[in-house]
Amino acid sequence: MTTTVHAPPDLEKSTDDRRVVRKRLGPGKRIPFAFWIGPALFLAVWAAGSATGVISPAILTAPWDVAIAFQDQWVNHDLLGNILSSLQRAVIGLALGVITGAVLAVLSGLSRIGESLIDGPIQIKRSVPTLALIPLFIAWFGIGQEMKIVTIALITLVPIYVHTHNGLRSIDGKYAELAETIGIGRGEFIRHIVLPGALPGFLLGMRFAVTSSMLGLVVVEQYNAVAGIGHMITLAEQYGQTDVIVVGLVIYGVFGYCADSAVRLTGRKVLAWRRTLED
């Protein structure tokens, strides 16, 4: 009636690995050092274009000439000082913007009334060119460092707000249900559900905020700045010094790319709890 089936006799006890192979639909395994491939390729195309004359130097300076201009700026025009001034403005502005943006996002994300008050003005601010708002900021904050930092803070606030708000609102409702049955207060809810749940959104916002803060420098450093990368680019534009502009752009590109990669790397670390197509 019941038989104990014996293990088949032809056991192959090798350590061969023959798995079931399925067509992979996701992106697959990460390529090591993929981080560098894009920029390297970019540089290669640029260099090739310049060398063959496809890219005329009047339009885009050749990489080697940029290197020379870089050196010249470094030695003769305090490029390091420019970078540091810009970095200082960007970092302070960014910090303010990130904090305010996140706080506003939580306020407006968790309360319909807060939302109706906060959301509209931010959406409107977002649709209006920053350059056009500068006269207002000058009137309120002068043309000193304060105006620059406030402007950058306002620029970076927007992506942080929008992304955090969106991330928060996209949290699966079942976790809010759980929290409600567990009987925690608003504070704990924010700390344990809202912030971690909105973190992926926030991090995406950070990627935009970081680049926005740098782009904002170009705008604010047109006003009463004596140092800064944006200032350097503005001057060079007026003079038509393509090579110096490109030095500025390269610095932007490098900073932007590194900052972006840093945020993404952080994301990968702090979002280790997720199993997504990324993994």
Partner: protein
């Protein structure tokens, strides 16, 4: 919020004329009445899709948007074991278990609860790293460690093997004896209902169709009363003789 009814036993849960429906065509709960005394263990059985979870969610106050009416009174502190284990994916297992727990010994209590459900050593795992049954046990630990006045458990043992399930039964009974919460446990396993509960109710057509008290001196499955009650409930569920 708890409603106290005069008399010897306190009523922990009191539901009157409860209606809930998700569409215009028909209700899921159609005037359901239910009382659960403090400390009473009630098992809820019923066909898939009859509204067991809907009832639990109503008791837990999680159905704000759902159409319907009726009166519900439940104790202040309620704990829910959801049908899905609902662990917060961004918290490690121990943090999930002690989530919202107050007191300096929260960590220790959480660890102990985890050990009791057989998950000692998995404190720092992420939820996705647990097997289905392990997740279910973690969710159970999260509810048990809270010592609520009312425990609402929606098929908390569905993904467990026979032996683990029996261990969890023992654990649950032990905790019930210690803290005497009112329990409403949804299960599909009639045997489990009889082994654990003081009363078994059967939900059908949106009302409690059958409501039997389990008054067995001996709850072992070999006892005569057990088999008789089991037969009665399976009859009520519509399971035919040959499939039991």
């Amino acid at each position: 919020m708890a409603s106290h009814v005069g008399g010897l036993t306190q009523t922990a849960v009191r539901v009157r004329n409860l209606h809930r429906s998700f569409s215009k065509n028909g209700g899921v709960l159609n005037g359901l009445d239910l009382d659960i005394a403090a400390g009473e263990f009630v098992a809820l059985i019923g066909r898939s899709g009859t509204g067991k979870s809907t009832l639990l969610r109503a008791l837990a106050g999680l159905d704000r948007g759902v159409a319907g009416h009726g009166q519900i009174a439940v104790p202040e502190s309620v704990s829910v074991v959801f049908q899905d284990s609902r662990l917060l994916p961004w918290k490690r297992i121990l943090d999930n278990v002690v989530f919202g727990l107050r007191g300096s010994d929260a960590g220790a209590r959480g660890r102990q609860a985890l050990a009791e459900v057989g998950l000692a050593g998995r404190e720092t795992a992420w939820p996705y790293q647990l097997s289905g049954g392990e997740q279910q046990r973690a969710a159970l630990a999260r509810s048990l460690v809270r010592e609520p006045q009312l425990l609402l458990a929606d098929e908390p043992f569905g993904a467990l093997d026979a032996l683990t399930r029996i261990r969890m039964h023992v654990l649950l009974r032990k905790l019930c004896e210690a803290h005497r919460p009112a329990v409403l446990l949804v299960t599909h396993d009639v045997d489990e209902a009889i082994v654990l509960a003081d009363r078994v109710i059967l939900l059908d057509d949106g009302v409690v169709r059958t409501d039997v008290r389990v008054d067995l001196p001996d709850r072992s499955r070999s006892s005569a009363g057990f088999a008789e009650l089991r037969t009665f409930l399976l009859d009520e569920l519509g399971v035919e003789e040959e499939n039991r």
